[in-house]
Symmetry: C2
Subunit: 112 residues, 2 copies
């Protein structure tokens, strides 16, 4: 598990990337998939995930449809056309940022 501050700001990027590759996923499924894919190193909390999903739906980035599975509710999220664009931009921005950070963190001292 990474320190919480490290992961801040990456939640939307992670969720949008996953959703843009799997045409529908529900909240709990997203948490499990991320946990599985990262070997438990990233565990999304519900308190962070659900409000973010709601916000992205309100912003037209995601759409939902609710399904009853037995007696339980399952709310599937999908990226809209706009959402796909946002997902691409987010991922591109993050990759750019990672390169910048790699440069910064590998930086040799510049004396004087």
């Amino acid at each position: 598990m990474y320190s919480s501050e490290l992961i801040k700001g990456t939640l939307k990027t992670i969720v949008l990337k996953l959703l843009s590759e799997n045409d529908k996923m529900y909240g709990y499924e997203i948490t499990q998939k991320v946990k599985e894919l990262t070997g438990g190193k990233i565990q999304l909390t519900e308190g962070a995930l659900y409000p973010t999903l709601h916000a992205m739906e309100a912003n037209g980035i995601l759409t939902t449809h609710t399904v009853n599975v037995g007696n339980r509710i399952r709310k599937y999220y999908s990226v809209t056309k706009t959402g796909k664009q946002v997902a691409k931009e987010k991922v591109n921005e993050f990759e750019d940022f990672m390169h910048t950070m790699m440069f910064l963190l590998d930086l040799k001292p510049k004396m004087g």
Copy 2:
């Protein structure tokens, strides 16, 4: 310039890395160095930087000495022995995190 949420949580890592490679730097110098090294893509704000520096000093990660340059004050920060260890850990953790994120973001869809 990156979206602000993207940079959240990386401030300490950036500052500690820079300070662990340059045995002393002052706040304004740090903002300028980061701006220069990232081609303006990361611009630390004073409102974020100074409180963080103060906190790290209070935690024994940094030490300071103040110098008068002309009639202006300049407060130099240096990493302590503890701080060097923390810097290494922060950078290592970030590199690990970046690899995890690269994997996640390059992820191919797993249908079914």
